[in-house]
Every structure is written in structure tokens, then in C-alpha cells.
């Protein structure tokens, strides 16, 4: 076998597969979004954008991402630095903290439903402590803030683990000598974190943020389990178009809008956290 051809042969299956099941459907979505019966049109987009639920679901999706992702970033950085100075029990603590990584958004929604539903654990606790006389229906239209908080908590609970894993792996790649040198020069732990850990963690932060932000725009099942129709989000609207309204063109147009938002944020993160050439460890 010609050694120069071998690598191409090895990447051929992935390339073919992604060509058929990634690029091709992507073009189909675009085609479906831009056509109705009679050729090129922007009607689908106009329909989708002018629907009364669109501004709400757009706002909800952004608000959720805006509230969830920064907290997750801070929390995962905190957890990662905690773990890095741990000697005993490190493996056990990391295992527990990464458990939510394997838990789906739907399951996470159901888990937090057990806490927030009317006869759930939060109400049981509150009446047990004498804070409330009778169970409050948290997840109803009278309590939009509670619906939002419940969804937010479930998202933070579920998806911090993926950032934690990426950041812990990134910290593991930073040479210990850097910290020793910083310590010799009298840097406090906080200074070491700011001047050594954070700059060298850039590539990992980039990956973690891109992954999380994109997934935040895809939020769907958590919302379906906790908020139902009380808290419309973009992905849920796509599902509704495709499934309940049987309007493939509109679903495709909305899908492209979500895609454009995801790509825009990916580029922003790539640019904001770009790694200078030749500066990798």
C-alpha cells in the first residue's frame, strides 16, 4: 500500500459519511427553507419571524443562555481548581461531579420536576418547615419567574459537568513548573490563577464555551419537561412546526435561524479567545 495514500483512505469513511448525513441534509434544509411551491422565496422566514411566539421564544432562549452559561463557567472553574489541589478522594469527587454528563436533558427536566411540581419535594420541605400552609403550584403561568428559575437550575445542574471535564483536562496539561516559578516570585494563589491558569487554559475555555453556548441554543427537553408551553424556546418551536403544524418549510427556516445564531456565537468565541500562533504548550 502506498504510504502517501493511506491517510486519505483512513479519513475517507468519515468524509463520505459526513458528506451524506451532514452536508447533504444541510443543503436540503436550506433548500426547504428558501422554497415554497414556486421557486426561491423568503416567505418561510417572513412567516416564522412574524408569528407571535417568535420574539418570545428568541428572548427566552437568549435569556436562558445568558443566565446559565456564565454561572456554569464560574462554577466549573471553581470546581476544577478545587479538584486540582485535592489529594485524597479526588477520583470519587470527580466521579460524582461528572455524573450529570451522562444524564440527558429530558431526564434532568424530570429530575427537577420531582422537586418543583406541586406535590414535589420543595413544597413538602416548605410546609414541613412551616414556610407555607399549602403547596404552591410553582410551574404554572402565574409563576413565570419560578418556571424560569427551575429550568435554569436544571440546565446548570445538568450541563456544568461537560465544561468541568474539559477544564480539568486542560489544567492537567499545564506544566507544574509554571506554578512553581510563579510561587518563587511570590504570586498569591489568586494571582497564579489569573496569570498562569487562565491564559494557558485558553484552548480549553474556547472548546468548553463553544460547546456549551451551542448546546444552550438547542435547549429543548428540559424546557418541555418543566415549562411545557409556558416557556417557549426556539428548538421547541421548530419541533412544533415540524410535528404539530406539519409545516416543514417553516421548521427549516427557523432551524436556519438557530444555525446562524450558533455560528455567529462560535465565531465570536473563537475570535475572543484566539490562541496566538506558536503559543501552545
Amino acid at each position: 500500500m502506498d504510504a502517501r495514500l493511506l491517510p486519505y483512505l483512513l479519513i475517507l469513511p468519515v468524509t463520505l459519511f459526513l458528506g451524506v448525513f451532514f452536508l447533504y441534509p444541510f443543503f436540503l434544509v436550506a433548500q426547504q427553507a428558501f422554497t415554497t411551491g414556486a421557486g426561491f422565496t423568503l416567505d418561510n422566514f417572513r412567516d416564522v419571524v412574524s408569528y407571535w411566539k417568535f420574539p418570545i421564544s428568541l428572548k427566552n432562549t437568549f435569556l436562558l443562555a445568558l443566565c446559565v452559561v456564565p454561572i456554569q463557567l464560574a462554577l466549573s472553574l471553581l470546581m476544577a481548581t478545587m479538584v486540582s489541589r485535592m489529594e485524597k478522594g479526588r477520583d470519587l469527587v470527580l466521579y460524582v461531579w461528572t455524573i450529570p454528563l451522562g444524564i440527558s436533558d429530558l431526564a434532568a427536566g424530570i429530575i427537577w420536576l420531582a422537586i418543583f411540581e406541586q406535590s414535589g419535594f420543595l413544597n413538602s420541605m416548605m410546609t414541613g418547615l412551616g414556610l407555607a400552609d399549602q403547596p404552591v403550584n410553582f410551574l404554572s403561568y402565574q409563576n413565570p419567574l419560578m418556571v424560569f428559575v427551575a429550568i435554569m437550575l436544571a440546565e446548570i445542574w445538568r450541563a456544568t459537568a461537560i465544561m468541568l471535564v474539559i477544564i480539568v483536562a486542560g489544567i492537567g496539561l499545564i506544566p507544574k513548573e509554571y506554578y512553581e516559578a510563579a510561587e518563587v516570585f511570590g504570586a498569591s494563589p489568586w494571582q497564579r490563577f489569573l496569570r498562569v491558569t487562565l491564559p494557558l487554559l485558553r484552548p480549553s475555555l474556547q472548546t468548553a464555551l463553544i460547546l456549551r453556548v451551542v448546546l444552550a441554543f438547542e435547549v429543548f427537553a428540559v424546557v418541555a419537561a418543566l415549562g411545557g408551553t409556558l416557556f417557549p424556546v426556539l428548538m421547541g418551536e421548530i419541533y412544533a412546526y415540524q410535528f404539530d403544524l406539519q409545516n416543514g418549510g417553516a421548521a427549516a427556516a427557523l432551524a436556519l435561524i438557530v444555525l446562524a445564531i450558533s455560528l455567529a456565537f462560535t465565531l465570536i468565541i473563537l475570535r475572543a479567545l484566539r490562541v496566538p500562533k506558536g503559543a501552545t504548550i
Binding site: M1, F17, L28, I111, P135, W157
Partner: protein, 280 residues
């Protein structure tokens, strides 16, 4: 920040207080993860009547009523079976297709390598479940609609970027000298791979296969769009969300969670090594 002029006992006092705070925060964060899971367990192991009663007991009754109701619910067991089938197919497909590319990325310098890597990375920036929308039409044309295999193809698209990057980092962790030594001892490239590299890499490959399994097991959007009769468990639960009783939801959620616990435990050793190199 404290500075060096503080006398020793005070510094020791601060350190002790800091340590207590540190241990308390670790404990709190562990509780933050485990307590909601515990509540789900309590609900799952209680009778349907208890689940719907108020106030709720904080200890499980060890009553299997809810789980029995789940098992007896029309279509639930076949949804569970579909979920396993789709996830296993996804696991096999993504490793079979992704691992060779991971090997190529770690061992060869070839033209277009950086472009290829970038494309793989870029696929992660796409909301991939959306691809299920056009594929629904395509699958109807090809007869793949509503089949486990069709859904597995979409889930493989989701899992493949991870499979490539993870196997890439795994292969990169094995010194190329080992392979070269095998070549000088009379192995061909292929036998060197099967006899030297493969045994070393197998646990890691298993871990990344399990990762693909979890991705498929948890995916709900594509599953809900692409399957009607042969729904997977998440799709089935999602569809019945509005009308199903609470105890059914909790039992279903519990069944969804159990494999996750086992899988994260099985791959815990590899979890961090996999991501370490995959980010570079």
C-alpha cells in the same frame, strides 16, 4: 490577599478556616449533584399513590408499584428496546467510521490535515439534531423512515466528531516508536497495528464507544422527529409528557438515568485524557 507580614498563629488560623470552607464547599457541591438524583430515586421506589400524595416522604418505601406501572405501560418496553438497539448501532458505526480517521490524524502528516481537523471541529458548532428535519423526508423515500438504523445514522453524525477527536487523542498517547519497533521485527503496518497498538488502545476505544452510546441514548429531538411507531425511550417519554401521570414520568426518568451512572463510572479513567488532547 494576605501578605507575608501576618504572624504565624493568625496565618494558621486563616488556613484552618480556609480549609474548613474548602471542605464545606466540596461537600455542598457533591450534595448539589446527588440530592436531586436521590429525590428521583425516592419517587421511583414509591408506590404511585405516594408519588401523587402530599407532603412527600423523604425516604423511599421500596415499593415497586411505579416501576411495574412503567413496565406495563403500552409501548414502553418496546421503546426501551429501541433505545438500546439504536444506541448499540450508533456505538458500532461511530467507532468503525471514526477510529480510522483518528488514527490518520495522530500518525500521518498529510495535505489537508488541518482543514479536515477544522471541519470535524466545526461540526460541533452546528445544532446537529436539526439535520433530522430534511432526513425525515429523505428517509421516507429510501424506506429508512421510522427504523432504528435510520435514526442510528443521524445519531452517528452526532457522535462522530467526538469519536474522531477522542480516538485521535488516544492514538497520540501511544508512542509511534512501538509501532516502528514492530516493523523492524518483521510486522507489516497492519499486523503491527493489530498486534501492538490495538491491545493497548482497546480499553480507550471501549470508553469512546460508550460515550457514543450515551450520546445516542440521551438524544431526544432527532428521535422524536424521525420515529413514529418505533420510538426510543426519550422520544416516547417526550410525547407522553403532557398527559402521562407523574409516577410514569419519574420511573421513565429513572430508567434513563441508570445507564448514565454506570457509563460515567466505566469511562471515568478516560474522560479527562480524552478531552485533554482533543482540545488542542
Amino acid at each position: 490577599m494576605t501578605d507575608a507580614t501576618i504572624d504565624v498563629p493568625a496565618a494558621a488560623g486563616t488556613r484552618k478556616a480556609g480549609n474548613t470552607l474548602y471542605i464545606a464547599s466540596v461537600a455542598l457541591l457533591i450534595a448539589w449533584v446527588l440530592v436531586p438524583l436521590y429525590f428521583l430515586l425516592v419517587n421511583t421506589l414509591s408506590s404511585p399513590e405516594t408519588v401523587n400524595s402530599f407532603p412527600k416522604p423523604f425516604l423511599p418505601e421500596f415499593d415497586l408499584g411505579s416501576l411495574q406501572f412503567f413496565a406495563g405501560f403500552q409501548g414502553m418496553l418496546s421503546a426501551l428496546k429501541n433505545s438500546v438497539l439504536v444506541a448499540v448501532l450508533t456505538m458500532i458505526l461511530s467507532i468503525a467510521i471514526g477510529a480510522p480517521a483518528g488514527y490518520a490524524l495522530s500518525r500521518f502528516d498529510f495535505r489537508g490535515k488541518e482543514v479536515f481537523r477544522l471541519l470535524i471541529l466545526l461540526t460541533r458548532a452546528f445544532p446537529l439534531p436539526l439535520l433530522a428535519l430534511p432526513l425525515a423526508v429523505l428517509f421516507i423515500r429510501t424506506g429508512l423512515d421510522d427504523t432504528a438504523f435510520g435514526l442510528a445514522l443521524v445519531h452517528t453524525t452526532l457522535a462522530i466528531p467526538f469519536a474522531v477527536l477522542i480516538t485521535f487523542s488516544l492514538f497520540s498517547g501511544i508512542p509511534v516508536e512501538l509501532e516502528e519497533a514492530a516493523w523492524t521485527l518483521g510486522c507489516t503496518r497492519f499486523t503491527a497495528f493489530t498486534k501492538v497498538v490495538l491491545p493497548l488502545i482497546l480499553p480507550g476505544i471501549t470508553a469512546s464507544a460508550i460515550f457514543a452510546f450515551v450520546i445516542s441514548w440521551n438524544e431526544v429531538f432527532a428521535a422524536a422527529v424521525l420515529t413514529i411507531e418505533n420510538r426510543t425511550l426519550p422520544a416516547f417519554l417526550l410525547q407522553t409528557l403532557a398527559e402521562s401521570p407523574m409516577h410514569l414520568k419519574f420511573a421513565g426518568g429513572f430508567i434513563l438515568v441508570v445507564p448514565a451512572l454506570i457509563f460515567i463510572f466505566a469511562v471515568r479513567k478516560y474522560l479527562f485524557a480524552m478531552w485533554g488532547i482533543a482540545n488542542r
